[in-house]
């Protein structure tokens, strides 16, 4: 079976700042992968390359064997949902109006939502526990609620690959636990997940696989238990000495 996502010899740079050089990577269907690295290591860039939102300067990105940049945007949106760190919305859309936008790739230009579309929206809101917020204005929700709504939009897309950019950022530990639980549940339902995360304990406990980005543009990818070690973390985050680190990670 073809991998759900494959980066093949991808090179990417912002202007003269190179982020990836000849990087290759494959993720199999059904995997749950944590994306770990220091600030500026390229986590968001990698997610955007995987979503086809950035175009590599060299190399290719394949979604189930198809070149993502040869595929119609609408078709990609039915298979990949990308959840950004921030979603700033200038107008007062309600939660339901936002989640309904997850159906955008399925709709013809002027057609309304079909029963199936509405069902998918309701289902997405239910799974993420935002149904009771449907008439609330998105901008007036708390951080945890907004995060769940963003996940609901992604679910309404009915994707097979979910790309999450630090979904637990700025959340209290209770809300972090909720989001992690939701990620596990979605993965059990068959959605492949790649999520950028900073909480190494969460990575260790909830993600069987890891992609570790070093600041020197090296990448390692494999089983979390094999890769998430003191030396690799010290190298990835450029920390010297165990003292500082042991406060953060329980080995």
């Amino acid at each position: 079976m073809k991998p759900i996502l494959e980066l093949s010899a991808v090179t990417f740079s912002y202007g003269r700042v190179s982020v990836f050089e000849n990087t290759s990577l494959t993720v199999q269907r059904g995997e749950r992968v944590a994306l770990v690295g220091a600030n500026g290591a390229g986590k968001t860039t990698l997610l955007k390359l995987a979503a086809g939102l950035l175009r590599p300067t060299a190399g290719n990105v394949f979604l189930e064997g198809r070149d993502i940049h040869q595929t119609r945007r609408r078709e990609i949106a039915k298979e990949i949902a990308y959840v950004p760190q921030q979603l700033a919305i200038p107008f007062d859309f309600t939660v339901q109006e936002i989640v309904e936008q997850g159906r955008t790739p399925y709709l013809r230009m002027l057609s309304g939502l079909s029963n199936h579309d509405r069902g998918a929206v309701e289902h997405a809101m239910q799974v993420t526990s935002v149904t009771h917020l449907r008439r609330r204005i998105f901008n007036q929700l708390s951080g945890g609620e907004q995060q769940r709504v963003k996940l609901a939009v992604a679910l309404a897309q009915e994707p097979c690959l979910l790309l999450l950019d630090e979904p637990t950022q700025h959340l209290d530990i209770g809300r972090q636990a909720e989001i992690l639980e939701l990620i596990l549940e979605l993965n059990e339902r068959g959605v492949t997940i790649i999520s950028a995360l900073h909480d190494l304990n969460a990575v260790r406990s909830s993600f069987p696989a890891i992609i570790l980005l070093y600041l020197d543009r090296q990448i390692v990818h494999g089983a979390t238990s094999l890769i998430l070690k003191q030396e690799t973390i010290e190298r990835a985050f450029e920390i010297k000495g165990l003292g500082a680190l042991s406060n953060w990670v329980s080995w």
Partner: protein, 364 residues
């Protein structure tokens, strides 16, 4: 997908959607009635009052067995003076408001207006050339002012789009800045042009009036052409509504939702430019309509662009008919440029909404 799950979804599906639709239809029906009333009122009220009954009779050719219940003077006033002007106001108001919705959605900014990417300067320069150089030229009922303002407005927006386009993309900020810069250059060119032609005080006064919005008495062929343009513009804007909704969440996010962002942006700019140019050619530069009407409609209908566009088009038409009726009656028989009135009404109304919104945000 399993049939069972589909059934389950379908049963969940009807929750919370019907009330929104019926509310939308109710608002649209209400606005349509208000528009009819505004057209009647605008045709009736003026320096010479005409009876409402005469207006209705003339419009619908009512009369018992060939007997006419109105005078020839009434008919002339209604058909040659009032009605063209009222219809023109409706078209200008509707076009500016719909264009306002398009540009506010595209720029993700409720402060954008139809002139935001430079059409103002281009239209003004076109109008000044027309008024100062070709005062007697006319084609298909379009004065030189109307034609050159239309062309100037469209050309400027095309140039701005071309200037802002870098490597197949058109960053929004570049588009705004290019529009601002070009509009400023063209506006000052207009002033420069006026200084070069100091001989005609009348022409200068005409130009100043035009730059503050003046719906002149239009001829029917001109109205017919502009109404076709505005109708096409509004109809073409509807399929863009979904893309605009997605773009409201951010360009990258819209792209991840499957929207072809660059194509959508070009389409929005094209349709918005067409609507703005059509409005400018009939009514000069009328401020505040394209800014405040979309804002008001968002309070009425929410931010969904599919509902917003028709609501704004109707509301803008009503608003401008009323404003223009006031503009020609307040100091009758003289007239004010309608832009002064839209600013006097729209400005305070906008400030009121702004303060109310702010308070709501603090209270929320």
């Amino acid at each position: 997908m399993e049939v069972g799950q589909q059934k389950e979804w379908a049963s969940k599906a009807n929750a919370g959607n019907r009330p929104r639709l019926s509310r939308f239809l109710l608002v649209i029906a209400g606005l349509a009635v208000l528009l009819m009333i505004a057209i009647l009122a605008g045709t009736t009220v003026g320096a010479v009052p005409v009876k409402v009954r005469s207006v209705v009779s003339v419009l619908f050719h009512l009369g018992s067995f060939g007997h006419r219940s109105w005078t020839a003077a009434d008919e002339a006033i209604i058909f040659q003076i009032r009605l063209p002007r009222v219809i023109a106001s409706a078209l200008v108001g509707g076009a500016l408001s719909a264009a306002g919705v398009l540009f506010q959605g595209l720029f993700r900014n409720p402060l954008a207006d139809p002139y935001v990417i430079g059409s103002q300067g281009g239209a003004a320069l076109g109008a000044s050339v027309a008024i100062l150089v070709l005062p007697h030229f006319s084609i298909l009922g379009f004065s030189a002012t109307a034609s050159l303002a239309f062309v100037g407005s469209l050309l400027t927006m095309a140039v701005v789009y071309w200037l802002a386009r870098v490597g197949g993309r058109t960053p929004i900020v570049t588009l705004l800045l290019a529009g601002f810069a070009l509009s400023t250059i063209l506006s000052y060119s207009t002033t420069f042009f006026m200084y070069l032609n100091p001989q005609s005080e009348l022409a200068t006064r005409m130009l100043i009036t035009w730059m503050h919005g003046a719906i002149s008495i239009s001829e029917w062929p001109q109205i017919a052409i502009i109404s076709v343009l505005v109708t096409i513009g509004v109809i073409l804007s509807l399929p863009l509504a979904r893309a605009l909704n997605a773009l409201s969440l951010g360009e990258e996010y819209a792209e991840q939702l499957g929207v072809r962002v660059e194509f959508a942006r070009m389409a929005v700019i094209t349709v918005g430019s067409l609507l703005t140019a059509a409005a400018v050619s009939l009514g000069g530069l009328i401020g505040f309509v394209g800014l405040i009407v979309p804002h008001f409609c968002r309070l009425l209908q929410g931010p969904d662009h599919l509902r917003l566009l028709p609501t704004a088009a109707l509301s803008g038409a009503i608003f401008l008919i009323l404003a223009d009726t006031l503009a020609r009656t307040v100091i009758a028989p003289a007239e004010l440029p309608v832009g002064i009135l839209t600013a006097f009404i729209g400005g305070p109304a906008f400030l009121f909404l702004l303060r109310r919104n702010k308070q709501e945000q603090y209270l929320a």
